[in-house]
């Protein structure tokens, strides 16, 4: 028996490992193994491809190009993934996702070029190649913009300009029109410079990806990354159709379908629809919003009350129930170990401490769980929003560490607010509230937080790590 006939079987095994991997990743106990099973399947599939007839037909050239690509790409991926800080995880995922989208676009380009130069291509093949190219390129440039926004290279605010929708629509329409023209040309209906048209489609798709993600605010980036992840999956599936490779179709479709579900789960956690995320321009704070807020403050006479670490520590030390509300500020300052130390210290004094985890606190769902787990905070101390909200009225102190939008009561009460309707943590129902924050600057949603004007609230300004360290010292002294 020719060993090559085993390649499709190997691909089938890989496809099964991907299903098992995804299944495993959806449970806390099985997740680590799920990820490793899928990785093993991937390794198997790549190894088998070295024996593919087509690949071997390329001879030494193909081997050289592939080997060089595997080494360079592998080294880049490995070092990037090892070195990235836990806070920068979301943009790293965006980057790797963009890489996959770019690869899918290039594969479609190469295969279609080969077909056009060689024996000719059917309309079906051209259409699937165009889909692979367009979706892959949109995912590539969209992910690059998402990376830039999260990394702070470009403004995380929603980027708006006059005639934006027209520009975006023209880019989209032009991309579709050109790919239809190319399909007609490949079928022999019209004579066109095909490679030039294909390049045009690629450029328009890249621009469209940028135009699609630029107007979306940083707070929505997790949803966008998840959506682009599903896009890349579909681009890979399209490339699978072009190459007639079942494994690409299975794996790409699996990611496309599960990514769509995941995107819906995430946007539901923020009480927004996907359409609202893409076209709602959340995070485009009205011009002069801060000044307007300041004026409002003066009008109703409420002011922000600032406190010292010692006062706040005393409050904590003599409380019975404390709820810690972590947010992005904690992640940025890497304050999770200090927070754990503070919680241990309080518990040794008989204070009951739990953590309230908003589903989208930080920059990704589960961000806070990951960070606190790193500091060995026991899993059962982390309470979901639905479980913890009824506890707030009984909490003596709610300690908000670098969380903002997820605690904003405007989500419950202010109809006009961009975050109206988003489920929030009912921090304002606690007896006393201590907010650790670097400044009065609004959060990622770009709006002011009424919580800070609440008479029960005291602000402890400063870096989360330093502030918590001071609280630890204060509690020790109390």
């Amino acid at each position: 028996m020719d060993l090559r006939s085993l390649i499709p079987l190997t691909y089938l095994i890989a496809a099964v490992t991907f299903v098992l991997g995804l299944k495993g990743l959806s449970g806390p106990k099985t997740a680590v193994n799920g990820n490793r099973i899928a990785a093993a399947g991937m390794l198997l599939a790549v190894a088998a491809t070295f024996f593919d007839v087509e690949f071997q037909g390329y001879g030494a050239t193909g081997l050289l190009v592939t080997a060089a690509g595997l080494v360079v790409g592998g080294a880049a991926g490995f070092t990037g993934a090892r070195l990235v800080k836990m806070t920068a995880m979301p943009q790293m995922v965006a980057l790797f996702n963009g890489a996959g989208g770019g690869a899918a676009a290039l594969v479609s380009i190469l295969e279609l070029t080969r077909g056009l130069a060689g024996s000719g291509v059917t309309a079906g093949e051209t259409i699937t190649s165009m889909l692979g190219l367009m979706i892959g390129a949109v995912s590539f440039s969209g992910s690059a913009v998402a990376f830039g926004k999260l990394q702070g290279l470009i403004t995380p605010r929603a980027f708006k300009y006059g005639g934006q929708q027209i520009v975006t629509s023209v880019l989209f329409g032009g991309m579709i029109l050109l790919s239809l023209l190319l399909t007609a040309s490949a079928a022999g209906a019209v004579a066109l410079p095909q490679l030039l048209v294909m390049t045009g489609v690629a450029i328009l798709a890249l621009l469209f990806g940028v135009a699609l993600v630029m107007p979306i605010g940083g707070a929505d980036m997790p949803v966008v990354i998840s959506l682009l992840n599903a896009f890349t999956g579909l681009a890979v599936a399209a490339a699978g159709f072009v190459l007639g490779n079942q494994l690409l179709i299975v794996a790409g479709t699996l990611v496309g379908a599960s990514g769509t579900i995941l995107t819906r789960l995430m946007s539901k956690a923020m009480n927004r629809s996907i359409g609202n995320v893409l076209f709602g321009a959340f995070g485009a704070a009205p011009a002069g919003g801060a000044e307007a807020g300041a004026a409002m403050r003066a009008d109703d006479g409420r002011t922000v009350r600032s406190t010292t670490a010692d006062d706040a520590a005393t409050l904590l030390a003599y409380a019975r129930n404390v709820i810690v509300v972590p947010g992005y500020g904690l992640a940025v300052a890497q304050a999770q170990h200090n927070v754990r130390e503070l919680a241990d210290l309080l518990e040794s004094r008989g204070v009951n401490v739990v953590y309230a985890i908003h589903p989208v606190a930080g920059r990704m769902p589960g961000h806070m769980n990951v960070l606190l787990a790193e500091a060995n905070v026991p899993y059962e101390k982390l309470m979901d929003m639905d479980a913890v909200n009824p506890e707030f009225p009984r909490a003596d102190v709610a300690l908000v560490i670098g969380a903002n939008d997820v605690t904003n009561p405007a989500a419950r009460s202010t109809k006009g607010s961009p975050i109206y309707g988003m489920p929030i943590l009912d921090v304002d129902k606690a007896q006393q509230i201590i907010v650790i924050k670097r400044s009065m600057k609004p959060g990622f949603a770009g709006i002011d937080n009424d919580l800070y004007l609440d008479p029960k609230t005291q602000m402890l300004f400063g870096d989360a790590k330093e502030a918590v360290a001071k609280l630890v010292a204060g509690v020790k002294a109390a």
Binding site: T49, A104, V107, T232, G233, G252, A257, A269, N369
Partner: protein
Amino acid sequence: MTTEAIVGLYVFILAIFVGFEVISKVPSTLHTPLMSGANAIHGIIVIGAMLVSAAIGGPLGLALGFFAVVLGTANVVGGFVVTDRMLAMFKQKPGQRK
């Protein structure tokens, strides 16, 4: 339609159902690792990149093939390693808990 295209379509449609079913109930804690793991899985495009790596010769063709393999590999390796790092934080470290 060719048999190959029909088979591909069968696989496509059935995989959609599997994809929907397989992650129906996920705790929000695992959303990010799951997204990252799925992200690594679409890195399977690397085998597609291998299969077209030298499909069109010439410096430009080979350069495009090379970049396709680089991007695909970065997606696979980076995706799985990042996911593993995220998940490592969920593991209990013996003796460090009360």
